[in-house]
Symmetry: C2
Subunit: 253 residues, 2 copies
């Protein structure tokens, strides 16, 4: 499995991905799932992948090959939608080439970036080649094992949050997922793109023994424990209700 | 779907369940999934259900019928394992009675309680009739849509936490699930059993417009936002790394 999340705020884009791939629990490998492409001053893209590793790798290598050809590629598309459309086509071709009746060769892609002065955005490209994008109401998109890490994103993210907060939120979301799911693991990659910079963003790679990740985890666990002390005790609730029947054998409901 | 969680701490038991049942998205109903049974001073049990509603209801009604008969029932079993074993058998019988080739009639049950001076505990009973129990290392068990609400339980719970904290943690876990999943919804039921009391615990029912739940949600959201201010900024990480190749077209990896 995999967990990748990408966030689009007013001030830029955040990308976080894990690096664990597995076929069953006894075939476990480490691959980066984050790829950056760009022409400084003109356009910048980051692509995250999940799903069938062979399909994902074939799509990425095809994207890189196309960059060296005259045809349509990441460096000459006019809009982010063209980029999403293109990745969808490449993905469908890669899947159709694989003869697999009983194996799932589907892959999902998150592609985010900015072209010139157009609005920065993130697209989720489905294995079928269609895609959806972030919006003012939907500031993030996930692929892979997305459930564990979703609540914190829902509670914290909004178009107005800073890139720092969005990045920390994505890392906490990743940490929650890693704790709960064996198939998601470090190294964790983080990329932060500042809107309008059209330059490669800040890129971080956190290994298993990363001091920063350990510190973030400790701080967050402590912060949550402290947060509970600020919550209104259940005892304050007026709805405490006791039901008892005649012969001393009570039932709720 | 459903979300139910039960927590066993040194000081007692906490049970939380939602009340939404659905068959598809356009057949939505409200049923309690929490059932309490007990003989004050002798034994106390709480049962939570998920899965096929017909199976769950048939199991509960069979349990109630048995209470009025001479045979083995909740009021004469000697150990919690007997109770789990019994619910597993009743569940298997209920499923086998249903002729359904293409419908899933499986149900899951959480049963927790205490008999006399024995150790209090919670059991998860699978549709196959087998079961697992809480332990010092595993202080909680979930049934239904369990992923969204798991991280907060993993971060907060330990055998030593107070019943108040465990109850609030379960409610926050429920709130996270309700936010992220349409098939889980209020009213929320909460039951808190104090170890050794052998009396029906505190019982709360929170409706959709519950002032307490709204307040808990607001306080938690605020507490999380504040918590982020205490986290070490990503900028402090030493691993910022920039990769650029010759012709100004850089790639990460």
């Amino acid at each position: 499995m995999t967990y990748c999340v990408s966030i689009a705020t007013d001030s830029g884009l955040v990308f976080v991905s894990d690096s664990r791939t597995n076929a069953g629990v006894d075939v476990k490998n480490t691959y980066s799932k984050m790829y950056g492409f760009g022409v400084p001053g003109e356009r910048q893209f980051t692509i995250l992948t999940s799903g069938n590793l062979a399909t994902s790798q074939s799509v990425i290598s095809r994207i890189k090959k196309d960059l060296k050809l005259e045809g349509p590629n990441l460096f000459n598309f006019g809009h982010m939608t063209d980029v999403a459309e293109y990745i969808g086509e490449v993905s469908c071709n890669a899947q159709s080439k694989t003869k697999a009746a009983d194996i799932n060769v589907e892959s999902y892609f998150l592609v985010g970036g900015q072209i010139g002065d157009q609005r920065h955005s993130v697209y989720l490209v489905y294995p079928q080649g269609n895609y959806i994008s972030t919006s003012q109401d939907t500031t993030y998109l996930q692929i892979g094992e997305s459930k564990y890490g979703k609540p914190i994103l829902d509670r914290i993210l909004s178009p107005g949050v800073s890139l720092e907060t969005a990045a920390m939120c994505a890392l906490v979301s990743m940490d929650s997922t890693i704790r709960s799911n064996l198939t998601v693991g470090p190294p964790i990659e983080l990329s932060i793109y500042e809107v309008g910079s059209l330059a490669q963003g800040r890129y971080y790679r956190f290994d298993e023994d990363s001091k920063y990740l350990r510190r973030l985890k400790r701080s967050w666990d402590q912060a949550l424990k402290d947060a509970f002390k600020t919550l209104p005790p259940v005892a304050w609730s007026a709805t405490w209700d006791q039901r008892q029947d005649g012969d001393g054998r009570q039932e709720l409901l």
